[in-house]
Symmetry: C2
């Protein structure tokens, strides 16, 4: 199994390779963690991850991490860590290109499986 | 202990807060992993990390990850994962602003302690 590319991973190339929103691609592995490229467009589902934090880092565009009591708005070059166990969702009016950093076994929809659950997150 | 900021973490602000090369600042935590902001300028020391991979993601400028048999040159928006156990060093002619993602307990100089070993990596 290929875990990592041997040369530079150009984020722009990775984001150019797919367009589907909320369909993460794996682009790098660091021990048991994975870096995923995701396009946020529209609204995701409310969910939480009981056992893990989750980091978002925006590459291009802007997105909102919505909590029940507040919004965190992220633009290019801005990151935010969602604490474990806290209900949240992501949303964006226009396409936002973001990286996600979390343990490789993390399910994108956490405790709310459904249509948006990504069964396969290919390595590209 | 503050592990994370509650709002957006602006990388530009974090990099503006210090200038010393090879003196990482912690800017976020994801479980037992940490995101560090580092300025690469000049040459680091050859070293390896026996037990962990290490990811570099360039924010601004460009840097080289040098292996004994090849160079990986990284520009803005490019990342690379150094595999565990592989001897490497980082270098840059001009200041390169980069993020490092690795387990929180990782020592920057790995198996080569010395003047460049960072004893304290403050959270900013």
């Amino acid at each position: 199994v290929t875990r990592n590319h041997s040369g530079p991973v150009r984020l722009a190339d990775k984001f150019a390779a797919f367009d589907e929103p909320f369909a993460p691609r794996r682009i790098a592995h660091v021990n048991d963690f994975v870096v995923k490229a995701v396009k946020v467009r529209g609204e995701f589902v409310w969910h939480s991850h009981a056992d893990t934090d989750e980091m978002f880092l925006v590459h291009r565009g802007s997105m909102t991490v919505r909590y029940r009591d507040r919004d965190v708005v992220l633009g290019p070059g801005q990151l935010h860590v969602v604490p474990r166990g806290i209900e949240h969702m992501t949303l964006a009016d226009d396409t936002c290109e973001a990286l996600i950093f979390e343990p490789a076994e993390t399910i994108n929809t956490g405790d709310s499986p459904g249509e948006l659950t990504a069964d396969d997150e290919p390595f590209i």
